[in-house]
Amino acid sequence: MPAPILELRNISKSFAMTAALSDVTFDVVPGEIHAIVGENGAGKSTLIKIMTGVYQPDGGEILWEGMPVSIRHTQAAQALGIAAIFQEPMVFPDLDVAENIFISHRDRGTFMDWGKLYADADALIKQLGVALDAHRPASGLTLAEQQTVEIARALSLKVKVLIMDEPTASLSAHEVERLLSIARTLKAQGVSVLYISHRLDEIFRVADRVTVLRDGKHISTKPIAAVTHEALVKDMVGRAIDTFAVKTKANPHGDTVLSVKGLVRQGVFSDVSFDLHAGEVLCFAGLVGSRRTDVGLALFGVEPATGGEISVAGKAVRIISPQQAMEQGIAYVSEDRRKLGLAMTLPIFSNISLPSLARFLKAFGWIDRTAERKVAESYRERLSIRSPNTETHVGKLSGGNQQKVMLAKWLETKPRILIFDEPTRGIDVGAKAEVHNIMRALAKEGVAIIAISSDLPEVLALADRVLVMREGRQMGIFDIADCTQESVMALATGQQELAKAS
């Protein structure tokens, strides 16, 4: 094996109450794809933040091409040739896509060449296989599109080590394919790629080596050929588990709780019609930007529809605000937990109780704090949210655990209709099974569920029926029995004729 380009020795990092990393040692060699896996909160993101100068380690050393270095800030990492796509995409909402990609580049001259900027951006985006206008301001981008921008930014740098922290968490199969092939190309060019993902199948497809972290400790680093799926999971969680939710038989469907006819939002989506029954799981599938999220937002009243009918339990309703949606028993779990889902600087318990606050109020609007904490605590146990207590601020949790808090928050509203936007984004294998089980259990209790997911295996595992969208239009609704990965993909990418024919 060639000499490592980047080496971490005995790295430790602790936050106020948690030891995120203890004594982690591993290395990256040029031209390899090195996967890092581990449960939520295992310390993966912390590790890469140390490599990129966002955090300073409490102990240990970092070697770059054999020489000890200290990476004091992100500029230092960039100067070395380390770039990262971070787990939570962070774009500059006021800048357009092209500027977002190139803002921190130092090799593009003193003056702006706007023409070249857009041309270069378009080329990069094309390479990623995404339809994205380089002139669009980033403020209107979906999470997946933001992720695309981040990827483009990292790719455009002349890097030696590229770190990807769950780059595919909100991508659909189509874009994932592109990304993986880009990773392989980079590898061929001699770039080392550090790849973090909870989707183990991807790892088996691209990685050369895989490192497992558990509880902030380094467990193993092995060539991919030397591990199996089961062994990897066992390393991650410390015991063997059954990673797939057993697909229970579809629940007996009850009455129609939600009926949507010809729903339109001018210029965004049109003609969405479906019925949703109690106890049913309806999945929305489609490519990034196919406007599935917008349908969800319309049903929840955030961006109200401009036409069409919605009836809940047989009664026509008008929903133009989230309050009204919630009155109808609709809950919406957003895909963007950082911006729309959770108040990061506030504690877990208050995030959980916010939408159902009315139920915790006594006379004079007084909050029943005991009840509130008890409920939060019960969710912490039930969803195994990793935190010392429910007073912890959400921002200090790992991505996956934040996702669980958000789930708890909406479960507590006891909804009739639950809209999940990317329900398992960034959740580890164990927890994903857990979330799926929770969803199925809810359905069993008679909750009607809409799940918007870019993860096709998840769609197939969860759904009773699948609604496929493409470019703001509903391409069709299928019973799960008639669905395969291929047929859904074909519809989503616009080869419907093909799909019909087959």
């Binding site: 500029q75 962070m90 774009v91 500059f92 006021d94 800048l95 500027e99 803002i103 003193t110 930014r153």
Partner: protein
């Protein structure tokens, strides 16, 4: 309406603002005799000249999601200290003197900037503090003396009436030229200079700036230094224009500059705004102010109330217009 699509939302905002300005001028032309005249243009431009540089500096600071409340005290310090200095060094080259004024301002701005970016103290707290501290320094340093016109070199005292060019009764004064030059440089830099785009990035999302390897601290520091330098330039213009400088010089400029900046469409939460907007905003506020004191219909005591209401009206009109432009634009796809 097809043409609307070509415009960036920011540009729509500017068009709306320009329309509001035109409407204001049209209204006052109908109210005040001899209003639309070169003389009035002169009055307004030379009145804008003092506040415009400050507003530009303030805008850049605001773009980075900060605020500089110390600008008024900075103007006071520069006008006073440099006024005293030139009294002792009458022969100094005017250009050198302007640069020195801006350097003094930039130095004070750097104090703000270091505290904000490296001390991680919120800018409103830092500059509320230095607003008092700079002024206190001035009061202690001045020992209640006044800088008087007769201690200043003649070129400086005569500067406000000196023109760059003259045509048909209208002339561009040197001090106006200086302010416009500052605006022009800032505009070019913000649109053409790669590094300057980082002001927007930092203000748009400070956390993302860290992840994108932008040296946020340095960007913020530079923004404060620019704001200081601009206050220094304004201090120079203030000195030239008013000649008599006491320790109260520049009092209240902080709110004035913030008003000009926000009317000019700079997002108070950072990340967006343009120098063209700031110029329009500054001019708009000044036009309203200078027109009201010439409007015979309103008594002296109604002026302030009307000023506040008209600013509110202008901002509202601008917001509504921008929004309906946006809607027109949106309904085309």
């Amino acid at each position: 309406m097809e043409s609307l699509r070509k415009f960036h939302p920011q540009t729509l905002r500017l068009i709306a603002l320009a329309l509001v300005l035109v409407l204001t001028v049209v209204f006052f032309t109908s109210q005040i005799d001899n209003y639309f005249s070169p003389r009035m243009l002169n009055r307004i431009t030379s009145s804008v000249a003092v506040i415009l540089p400050i507003a530009i500096g303030q805008a850049i600071v605001v773009m980075t999601r900060n605020i500089d409340l110390s600008v008024g005290s900075l103007v006071g310090i520069v006008a006073y200290v440099m006024g005293g200095f030139i009294g002792q060094h009458q022969g100094i080259n005017p250009a050198v003197f302007v640069v020195l004024c801006m350097l003094l301002g930039a130095f004070c701005g750097a104090i703000n900037g270091v505290l904000v970016s490296y001390g991680r103290v919120p800018s409103i707290i830092v500059t509320l503090g230095t607003l008092a501290l700079f002024r206190t320094y001035l009061v202690e340093y001045s020992e209640a003396r006044t800088i008087t016109t007769d201690s200043l070199p003649k070129w400086l005292v005569d500067l406000p009436s000196a023109s760059v060019v003259e045509f048909g009764g209208f002339d561009i004064r040197v001090i106006v030229g200086l302010a416009v030059l500052a605006a022009l440089v800032a505009w070019l830099a913000l649109t053409r200079l790669r590094a300057a785009r980082q002001f927007y990035a930092v203000g748009s999302n400070p956390d993302a700036a860290v992840f994108a390897s932008i040296n946020e601290a340095r960007v913020v520091l530079i923004a404060f230094m620019i704001s200081g330098a601009m206050a220094g330039l304004a201090g120079f213009i203030f000195l030239a224009k008013f000649g008599n400088i006491t320790v109260v010089a520049g009092l209240g400029f902080e709110l004035k500059s913030v008003a000009a900046v926000v009317v000019g469409g700079v997002n108070i939460f950072g990340g967006s705004g343009s120098i063209v907007g700031v110029v329009l905003g500054t001019v708009l506020v000044d036009v309203i102010d200078n027109s009201l004191i010439r409007w015979a219909v309103v008594s002296e005591f109604w002026r302030e109330a009307l000023l506040g209401l008209l600013i509110m009206l202008a901002v509202t009109a601008d917001t509504l217009m921008t929004r309906s432009f946006g809607r027109l634009r949106g309904s085309q796809n």
